[in-house]
Amino acid sequence: MSKRHDSSPSVSPPLEVTRQIDGLADQFERSIAAGKSPELRRFLHQVEPTWAPVLLRELVAIAREKLADPLAYAEQAADWEREG
């Protein structure tokens, strides 16, 4: 198994934190898809410092996916706009 080099905690967050991270990651994804440039810090400050690396990993993964396929995100943004 590969060795981890990040500062992520070795245990999973409690369910409440998992829900919070999920919601923040959704907000981040919507913001990016809407063509904005959300500040990572603004999101990271909303979770306990222990879990910030877990959230950061999610946000970076979302941003990477966006950069890999900007057209798909443009379509998502249009969907979300239609849904209001």
Binding site: D22, E65, Y73
Partner: protein, 198 residues
């Protein structure tokens, strides 16, 4: 958990296909105790004598041997593996109870051919299949957020993360994250025991 352990399971599955004994051990360590719990829960509703460890062992062995023999060609990661293990465990729980019932009948009197066929049937009973479907539906409907319901439902139906992401209009990463959340929500979903029920 998440992507790293998802990758580990995919790696073990490939190892099992190649006959790697270390992969067997990893799979065992990860799933055996969880499957015993499921089997025990299922068996105790049907029989006081059945042993969940035997059932869990049999289910894991079926997957290990099956992969080694080239079965389950679409099995690629833990998202596919866990439902397969649960289904096998459920079926084998029923088989074990049927075998016990058949043994008891054989000991007490001569068993007719029809009874033997019924006892050795290899499909879950309609009652169990219905109960299993109800339980899955309850687990899916426990979510208030429509996107969680959609992702859970589609995953159980065998859709890929990419297909689900397209339908849910979100990134694949979000599908993976939400599946991890769904798994955690379900793990912490404590069924009401008979003693607690009103």
């Amino acid at each position: 958990m998440d992507s790293e352990s998802t990758g580990s399971v995919s790696h073990w599955i490939e190892g099992l296909r190649a006959g790697d004994s270390a992969a067997c051990q990893e799979l065992w360590d990860r799933y055996f105790s969880r499957l015993v719990k499921i089997a025990d829960d299922r068996l105790h509703r049907m029989s006081q004598e059945a042993d969940g460890e035997d059932v869990a062992l049999s289910a894991l062995k079926s997957v290990m041997v099956g992969l080694g023999e080239g079965r389950f060609p679409h099995l690629s990661d833990r998202e596919n593996l866990w439902p397969l293990l649960v289904t096998l465990t459920a079926r084998k729980s029923i088989d074990q109870v049927r075998r016990q019932q058949a043994d008891r009948r054989a000991a007490s009197r001569t068993v007719s051919l029809d009874e033997l066929r019924a006892a050795l049937g290899d499909e879950p009973s309609p009652e169990f299949a219905a109960e299993f479907a109800d339980e899955l539906e309850r687990l899916v409907l426990k979510f208030d957020e429509p996107v969680l319901r959609l992702i859970a439902q589609r995953k159980l139906e065998g859709f890929t993360n990419e297909e689900i992401a397209q339908e849910a209009s979100c990134s694949k990463r979000s599908v993976i994250r939400k599946l991890n959340r769904i798994r955690q929500e379900w793990e912490e979903d404590e069924p009401v025991s008979d003693e607690q029920a009103p």
